[in-house]
Symmetry: C2
Subunit: 339 residues, 2 copies
C-alpha cells in the first residue's frame, strides 16, 4: 500500500477498493471461493449448491427519492445472490445504530426492509442489533447477508465471457448515483429523478429459464463504481475487449442533466436495480426480449459486444459523435456512501 | 416504546434489547424462523437443514488481552452456529471502516480474522468493505454472518428444556466482560485477566456425538447480558425455574476482584468462549465429562438444575452464604460495545 491510512476512496468500489482487497484481504484470506471475488459465494456441498453473500449499507442520506437504506439492504443482497445465478432463500439483517437515533427513523427503515423483503419473497431469517455511542456512528448502518440455491448447470463467471458475446444493460444508467449526489448537494432537478433500487432475481430467473443452458455467461449488477468499473472487471477477467456503443446505452434525460451539473460521468455512477448480462451472441436478441418482459427490465438495451480483435482487458466506448475512448474504472473521484 | 430515542441500553442484550426486538422488529419481520429468536436460523429445504447466523462487532477497544475484534467476529459467529447444533461451513466478513484508520490497525484485524478462521477450520467465503467519513464511525466495525449444516435428529431449543435437566457452564464466567471494562477504565489488575474469546464448535460436536440423541435440550453462549440474561431467556421460554448454586459457578479470582472494584455483577458480564448446556439429568455427569475433555471446556461445572416445583420462568440463585435471590436479566446498567 502506498498510503498508510484508509481513505474514502477505499470504499468506492473502484481501483482503490480493488487494491485494498488484493493487497490486504487476499493476503490473509485465501479461500478459493472468496478469492474468486464474485458478488456471492457459491459453495459445493453434499446438500446441493448454496449461495451466500454479504453487503453493508451506509448510504447518506438514509431516505431518498425511490428508496432508502432499507430497500437498498434488501435489494442489494437479493441482487448479489441473483448475479450468482441463485434463487434467494433468505437474508440476515444486522443493524449498527447510533445512540440518540430517533425510533421513528429506525421504524421507517425496518418497515422498508420488511416491505421489500415481502415484495421479493425473500424473508429475513436472522438478525442482530448493536448500538454505538453518539458520534461513533451515523444514525443507521445495515448489513444484510443472503443465502440462496443455485440450480444444476448454472455456472456464471466473467471468465466464461467469449468473443462475440453481447452485453445487455437492463435499463437507464446512473439513476441511483445521481439521485444521491444531487440530494446531498441540495440540488433540486426537474423531472422524476429517483433511485432505481429494485430486486432483479425474477429477471435473472426468467433469463436462466428462458435461454438454452450455458448461453448466459456472466451477470453483474453495476453498483459502486458503475457500469464502467463493472465492465472493466469483466474485461480483465476474460482478457477480451468490451466495445460499448454510447448511443445504445440507456440513460434518463434527468440523469444526463444531473451529471452535467455535478461534473459526474454516468458510467461511474452506482445503479441499484440494473443488471449487466453478457450472453452468447446467438441468443442476444432473445435475451433482450426476456429481460424487457421481466420486472424492472422494460428499458433494456444491447449496449455492446465482446471482441478478441481489440486490445484485451479494456472497455472501449464508440462515442455518439464518432470518436473512441477508453472507459476506465472509477478512481480518484470518490463517491462515498452511495449505498 | 416509552422512549423516543435509541439508548446504549438497546444494544446491551438485556431487557431493552429484547423490548426493541419484540416491539419493533417482530412487528415488521414475522418469519417464523426469525421470530423464534434463536442464535441462528435453521432452515428446512430440499437440500438438508442449513443454519445461518449474523452478528456485528463494535467492541471498544479493538485489541485487548486474549483477543480482538477479529477474533470475536470469527468466534462469535462460529459459536452462534454451534449453539444451533450446526457444523459451521463458512463465514461472510463485512467491514465498515472509518476514514483515516491506520492500515496497520486494519491489517492486525484482518490477520486475526484469518488466523482464527483457519484455527476453526471455517473459511471466510464472501466479504464487503465500506468506508465512512472520519467522525461517522469508530475505526472498525465488523459483521460476520455464518452458514452451517445441522445433522438429522438435532433439534435444540429452550422450549425443549424439562424438569430435572441439569445446567452446565463450560468454564469461568465473566472473563471477557471484565477484561473489556477494566481495560476501558484504565485499571491494571494483577493476574492473568484476559478475554475468553474462543470457538466452541468442537465442544458442541463432541457433546452431540457423545450423548444419546435428544438428550441435549438447549445450548446457548452467554455473550451480551451474561449468564443471568441467557438463563432468564431460557427460563421464560420453557416456563420452568432454573436453580443455580452460586458455589458451583466457576469464576476466576481475578474476575471476581475486577467485578468488586468496578461494581459489576459477573452474572451480567459477557462471555465469548463459554457455553451453557442444558441436558437431560440422566446424562448430566457424562455431558460434563465430555465438555471437560473438549477444547476450552476443562473448567466446566454443573451449575444448576431445572425445576417445576418453583415459580416458573425465573432464575433463582442459592448463594454461597445460604441465602436465595432472584437473578434478573441485565437492565439499566448498560455495558456498551462489549463485543
Amino acid at each position: 500500500m502506498q498510503q498508510d491510512r484508509i481513505l474514502l476512496d477505499h470504499g468506492s468500489g473502484g481501483t482503490a477498493s480493488k487494491q485494498l482487497i488484493e493487497e490486504l484481504f487476499l493476503k490473509y484470506l485465501d479461500d478459493p471461493v472468496l478469492s474468486s471475488l464474485q458478488d456471492c459465494a457459491v459453495i459445493d456441498n453434499q446438500a446441493g449448491r448454496l449461495a451466500f453473500s454479504t453487503d453493508s449499507y451506509v448510504v447518506d442520506p438514509l431516505f431518498f427519492p425511490g428508496g432508502d437504506i432499507g430497500s437498498l439492504a434488501v435489494h442489494g443482497t437479493v441482487n448479489d445472490l441473483a448475479m450468482g445465478g441463485a434463487r434467494p432463500i433468505g437474508l440476515s439483517l444486522a443493524l449498527i445504530l447510533e445512540e440518540g437515533l430517533l425510533f421513528e427513523t429506525l421504524e421507517r427503515v425496518v418497515a422498508s426492509v420488511a416491505r421489500c423483503s415481502k415484495e421479493c419473497g425473500v424473508p429475513v431469517l436472522t438478525g442482530d442489533t448493536k448500538v454505538v455511542p453518539k458520534g461513533k456512528g451515523d444514525l443507521v448502518f445495515i448489513n444484510t447477508s443472503g443465502i440462496g440455491m443455485v440450480k444444476e448447470g448454472v455456472d456464471l463467471s466473467p471468465t466464461k465471457v467469449r468473443d462475440g458475446d453481447v452485453v445487455i444493460l437492463s435499463g437507464g444508467m446512473g439513476d441511483h448515483g445521481v439521485t444521491i449526489m444531487t440530494r446531498r448537494a441540495g440540488i433540486e432537478l426537474k423531472g422524476a429523478l429517483r433511485s432505481d433500487s429494485a430486486p432483479l432475481h425474477m429477471m435473472v430467473s426468467s433469463l436462466l429459464n428462458g435461454l438454452p443452458a450455458g448461453t448466459v455467461h456472466c451477470l453483474r449488477d453495476p453498483t459502486r463504481g458503475g457500469v464502467a468499473t463493472t465492465l472493466n472487471e469483466i474485461a480483465e477477467s476474460c482478457g477480451l475487449a468490451i466495445i460499448v456503443e454510447e448511443d445504445d446505452v440507456p440513460i434518463h434525460p434527468e440523469v444526463a442533466s444531473g451529471c452535467e451539473i455535478l461534473g459526474l460521468d454516468p458510467f461511474h455512477l452506482a445503479n441499484e436495480g440494473k443488471c449487466l448480462a453478457i450472453v452468447d451472441g446467438a441468443v442476444g436478441e432473445r435475451a433482450l426480449e426476456i429481460i424487457r418482459q421481466a420486472p424492472h427490465g422494460e428499458e433494456a438495451e444491447i449496449i455492446g459486444t465482446v471482441a478478441s480483435g481489440e486490445r484485451g482487458g479494456r472497455v472501449i466506448l464508440n462515442t455518439g459523435i464518432g470518436g473512441r475512448r477508453i472507459v476506465t474504472s472509477l478512481h480518484g473521484n470518490p463517491l462515498p456512501r452511495i449505498c
